[in-house]
């Protein structure tokens, strides 16, 4: 529709009302006795060339969101609109073209690289299946170029994964993702297993690649430091739902949801003049198979009141984003959000 190059209304990826539940089977007949509500009504958008971080703790459903977008698991409901096309409506054959445009980089490069294949073949595999490159020699040349692009030595393309360090293997994982010329890369805890000095190298590389190639990133992570460094926008997940979203700096400076505030406060400080105060968010995350009624965070919320136990809050608009919290309800006359820590 619109040819406006910037600030176009349509993001590259738009996820709407995504619901992915997993059945719990039990008994001799393996009857379905319940559902794990891994993703329970998630909306998000990734602009072309931009970065959205999806952040949350173990079991919040962030990885299942990534898998649902790729249809590695089948969502029950919702739309995943990529470049104007709803991927949910596509046949497996039609989906194939989009698998090329959406690539993934996983946390553990050793588990995602076949140890018996030479890295040249690992990186070239996708090119071959999507018909990129004119032949074996051309693809080998491209692998060499990709190696240079991710700052690996092109002379090493005939080696095996175990001959590389953890950081180098993650570069190979990135080269493999880039080999098929994607527009969106889903980074699922892509730097979480790395030492901090290596992590910094990979984060800088990802940022450089984004600028050079115009890639969009959906960055799935538990690490708030990484979010702040890399993401334009952030969506915070808790028990299958987005509880807060907004522009990254705004969320970090003025978190509107008590869970976001708790997450930010729980990150250990490295400033020797300032240790973290005692934690405000206590206890464990409840089971996603049996989420609490009302607000799902109310069992751990330091600011809980009666309404939270009875009623499930929708996402309320806050200045630069949205928060799923009655404290942000403009009708309730309660203070909107609060000053950040």
């Amino acid at each position: 529709m619109s040819a406006a190059p910037q600030a176009s209304a349509e993001p590259l990826l738009r996820v709407e009302a995504l619901r992915t539940w997993f059945p719990i089977h039990a008994g001799l007949l393996q009857r379905v006795v319940g559902w794990v509500r891994a993703v329970d009504g998630v909306d998000l958008a990734v602009p072309a060339g931009g970065t959205l971080a999806l952040v949350g703790e173990s079991g919040c459903g962030k990885t299942t969101v990534g898998h649902s977008i790729l249809r590695l698991v089948e969502p029950q409901e919702g739309a995943v609109v990529f470049d104007g096309v709803d991927l949910m409506s596509l046949s497996p054959a039609a989906m194939r073209a989009y698998r090329q445009q959406i690539q993934v980089v996983f946390q553990d490069p050793m588990a995602s690289l076949d140890p018996r294949m030479r890295v040249r073949d690992i990186v070239a595999e996708g090119m071959q299946s999507f018909g990129i490159g004119t032949g074996t020699a051309d693809r080998t040349r491209r692998v060499g170029e990709l190696f240079e692009r991710v700052q690996l030595d092109p002379d090493q393309i005939w080696r095996y994964p175990h001959e590389f360090s953890g950081g180098q293997r993650q570069r190979i994982g990135i080269a493999r993702a880039l080999a098929v010329e994607p527009r969106l890369v889903i980074c699922d805890e892509a730097v979480s297993a790395l030492d901090v000095s290596i992590q910094a190298q990979i984060l800088n590389l990802l940022r450089d690649l984004q600028r050079e190639l115009g890639l969009a990133y959906l960055f799935i992570t538990h690490d708030l430091g990484v979010v702040r460094y890399l993401a334009d926008e952030v969506a915070v997940m808790y028990l299958g739902q987005i509880v807060e979203r907004g522009e990254t700096e705004a969320v970090f400076q003025r978190p509107a949801h008590p869970y976001t505030r708790g997450l930010l406060a729980a990150v250990p400080s490295v400033d020797p003049e300032r240790r973290s105060p005692p934690p405000q968010v206590l206890g464990d995350v409840p089971s996603p198979a049996d989420p609490p009624p009302g607000c799902r965070f109310h069992t751990r919320c330091p600011e809980v009141f009666a309404r939270c136990r009875a009623e499930a809050p929708p996402l309320f608009r806050v200045s630069e984003g949205a928060a799923r919290c009655f404290l942000a309800d403009p009708e309730a006359g309660s203070p909107q959000g609060r000053a950040g820590p």
Partner: protein, 327 residues
């Protein structure tokens, strides 16, 4: 102040194609009663092997080759196997990163702690169970009575780590070794476990050797810090000195590469390259291959200790030529 643990000139080596490799190379450190010393560094720097050496649990074919490990006046290297077994669990306890791998999956968690107590103390089953209940309360396990009869898989990661801490404290150790105790935990759970460890440490007066890669955890928990790189301690001092005024280029690099501290929008400071394998360690300073401020002596001469503030030491030629300066 009395040192609970004093390690002097510890060398722990493994055989390799080019002879023995000292993965812990001439490490010296001391911890007083009631003090938390953090041993910090990246994967493969030798921090966990230092802890295992103190416990005399170095996996074969590695072995301790030199040095003294003095716990409350006794050199642990001189003890026989039976005496050492008594030291472990009784005088020194350990908490690991993965509570699941250290708990028996088919035994109720309460029984595991009871067993640990009765292994080291001659008390009745009932008394040990009462003490376990008390410990569960102390480590803030909610509904402790019911949790005694739970199996490990029925507990969350945070609760399992609390059980491990209860077990580690059950024998009132002089020294607690905590090896990445919160690394596998989510950040809101980590904050609770750190708070618990702080509180327990105040009450018990145990010395704690904290092994971690996370400078945030170091700051939250430790009194003093020793930074390890490629088998050697490169900087040691109070938490304030090491984190607030680091002098070794490696410590500085580590602090600068933390994304949370970076200016949003600016590139993150990197430490270029990777830790070299032992076969490629320079004869001099092992950080020389990656160091932004290296000069002539660094590759060939091992740096001596340079005293900065009282108790603050860096093993660095640059610190030696200019103890005040640097950036």
């Amino acid at each position: 102040m009395s040192a609970v643990l004093e390690v002097e000139g510890l060398v722990t080596g493994f055989p390799s194609a080019d002879g023995r490799v000292p993965v812990v190379d001439d490490v010296s450190l001391g911890i007083d009663a009631g003090e938390v010393l953090a041993l910090v560094g990246e994967s493969g720097c030798g921090k966990s092997m230092t802890a295992l050496s103190v416990m005399r649990l170095v996996p074969k074919p590695g072995r301790i080759e030199a040095g003294r490990i003095v716990l409350a006046g006794r050199d642990l290297r001189e003890l026989d196997v039976l005496e050492m077994r008594r030291v472990r669990g009784h005088e020194v306890s350990m908490i690991f990163q993965e509570p699941m791998t250290s708990l028996n999956p088919v035994v109720r968690v309460g029984d595991q702690v009871v067993e640990a107590i009765r292994l080291h103390e001659d008390v009745s089953q009932a008394a040990a169970r009462a003490r376990t209940l008390e410990l569960f309360g102390q480590v803030r396990i909610p509904d402790p009575e019911a949790r005694l009869d739970a199996y490990p898989h029925q507990l969350s990661g945070g609760l399992k780590q609390r059980v491990m801490i209860a077990m580690a404290l059950s024998t009132r150790p002089r020294l607690l070794i905590a090896d990445e105790p919160t690394t596998a935990l989510d950040v809101t759970i980590q904050a609770q476990i750190l708070e618990l460890l702080r509180e327990l440490q105040r009450q018990s007066g145990s010395a704690i050797l904290l092994i971690t890669h996370d400078l945030g955890v170091v700051n939250e928990l430790s009194d003093r810090v020793a930074v390890m790189y490629a088998g050697k301690i490169v900087e040691q001092g109070s938490r304030r000195d090491v984190l607030g005024a680091p002098r070794h280029p490696y410590t500085r690099g580590l602090l600068r590469s933390i994304p949370a501290r970076a200016e949003p929008g600016a590139p993150l400071a990197e430490i270029p390259g990777v830790v070299p394998p032992p076969s490629e360690w320079p004869a001099g300073c092992r950080f020389a291959t990656r160091c932004p401020v290296r000069f002539e002596p660094c590759r060939d001469q091992l740096p001596d200790a340079t005293a900065l503030n009282p108790g603050h030491t860096a093993w660095c030629h640059d610190a030696a030529r200019d103890p005040e300066g640097g950036s």
